[in-house]
Point group: C2
Chain length 334, copies 2
């Protein structure tokens, strides 16, 4: 294990511990049980790790940023619980989703409560101007919701462009990541330019992260990823791969891809075998049209941009770990 | 029209105007249309009116409190949109609910966005310690969610006591009202004791307000109230009237009431005529057991307590209007 990996593990544990103690009391039982269930599921803690390291990279201490780190993870989990309702997702991180294990009403309330707890936690952070911190946090929340609204709207549209896609993921996935690095910079007392650099770092990293996620749906290992390979294809999700392939295709390939687009609102009842074949067929079109390689190239380019954004920060251990962490995220297989 | 009534109308318009301009832009269309739909529905603006008057009653100006007034109305509407999903409610204020007019996914997101906008608005308030203001606001949010969770839990319980009921409505209905009066006191720069007095005023008023709501379900005029009379009875809702009547009954009346309790989770398909008869029968039990009068007595007592709490505030026009407003709320027929 490298020093960076050890550091990451330590930061993860710090945040996990902070999250564990948050939900107190037994009653009302269902929502409290479900909140604890969500918070004990772990996860990569990407957002809190980025926040803590960003804080340190501009001269702050991890200790000052733990509550805000917990806050961004709480907000992230709020979005996951509500998104899972909207997507009708049966499982997450290899376990039943909240609305599956309990019911939709409970999941709805659990999301609301996690968001309230996120604010409570963010408010514990000691900074000069806490209104500014909460404002950045709230802008992040609103953008994430807007990104999700765009995603829902895209489901029913057949004319989504690659450009639309990037506008959507910039908000839905990217914003909470850039909000995390920005908040880290604010809490660490960074200069205006340093905070902006961290925000841009998060922006590019977030975009690359989502593209990598799209790629992993086609190439990932089922067991590790905790979800079915090709799930995006089966569900007709508007990913970069699907939209770019559509732009690059004509004739029979195009009809195949259009059929996939329609699956978003008319899920075809098919056997596991049929689904496997479908995924293989579409993945072949992706390879043939070069969109897999195009996505990889974009991941490389955005990673580069993210690293470039960090250059203006002073040399430090935290900065090194940030760079290592972004490399690791984008080379991940799960 | 009295001077108080004119004042109330003016304060309502000020907040309505602030709310109207909040949601900008067209895209994503569905959520934005639905947010505007909710915010244009009007409503009594009880919470913002209380906040604005509370601010003035301790020496602040209405102008300083408008954003926070809009914020509590936004939070209130967030709870309504999400509660309507959970309760499967078809209409509100005489119009289809968001999840009925659009769909559950849109309503879920609209609620989330209204909450985000509530924080944005609250953050615009200029106070010495804005972290404290946001903290009070967030505590209110968490308590309201907890109250709603208790309400959902009660639906499936047959052993809910009158005491449980009061613990629930204190959070679900009462907390946002006492949060509004407390925030008004904070923004107006009130002393610690004044702020506490305003909070207690809101606490008692909120409890009386909910009891009055329970009463109106049995005695209100269908047209004005915008909902079906006896809806609580048909749905087996655990109201003060039902729970208190259960405690006071035995024999056949008790079996009747127990049957109503069970309707919460096994809605019986019946005709409009049957429903009308059912409501009449149960309302008769309520009258026979004296629980209508008991509820009225409690409304009177809590109104008294609310007024007593205000006594320590200096004499002012705003205080007079607060007292008038609470009288009006509790004598309302709709």
């Amino acid at each position: 294990m490298t020093g960076h990996q050890r550091r990451y593990n330590a930061l993860r544990i710090v945040v996990d511990n902070r999250l564990r103690g948050l939900v107190r009391g037994k009653s009302p039982r269902e929502v409290k049980d479900a909140c604890r269930y969500v918070l004990s599921a772990g996860g990569k803690r990407v957002r809190s790790t980025l926040l803590l390291l960003s804080c340190e990279a501009v001269g702050g201490t991890v200790r000052d940023a733990i509550d805000a780190g917990a806050a961004v993870e709480l907000m992230h989990n709020f979005t996951l619980v509500h998104d899972d309702i909207m997507d009708n997702a049966p499982s997450r991180r290899g376990r039943p989703t909240v609305h599956t294990k309990w019911n939709v009403n409970n999941a709805l309330l659990v999301g609301d409560i996690l968001l309230g707890l996120a604010y409570k936690q963010a408010l514990k952070t000691r900074v000069r101007n806490s209104a500014h911190l909460i404002d950045v946090f709230t802008t992040g929340l609103l953008d994430v919701c807007e990104g999700q609204a765009m995603d829902l709207e895209f489901e029913r549209r057949m004319d989504v462009s690659v450009r639309d896609y990037f506008r959507m993921i910039e908000k839905k996935t990217g914003r909470l990541i850039s909000t995390s690095t920005e908040l880290g910079g604010i809490i660490g007392g960074g200069t205006k330019r340093q905070i902006e650099a961290l925000r841009m770092f998060g922006h590019y990293l977030g975009r690359a992260f989502q593209l990598q996620d799209d790629l992993l749906d086609v190439i990932g290992e089922e067991k590790d990823f905790g979800k079915t390979i090709g799930g995006d294809i089966i569900e007709g999700k508007r990913t970069f791969l699907l939209l770019k392939a559509l732009e690059e295709s004509e004739g029979r390939n195009r009809s195949e891809l259009m059929r996939v687009m329609k699956q978003r609102f008319s899920s075809p009842a098919s056997t596991a075998d049929e689904r496997r074949n479908e995924v293989r067929r579409i993945a072949n079109i992706y390879r043939a049209t070069g969109v897999m390689e195009a996505a990889r190239e974009r991941v490389r380019r955005d990673t580069q941009r993210a690293e470039t954004a960090l250059r203006m920060l002073p040399q430090s251990r935290a900065k090194e770990t940030l760079l290592w962490f972004s490399q690791m995220l984008l080379k991940r297989k799960v």
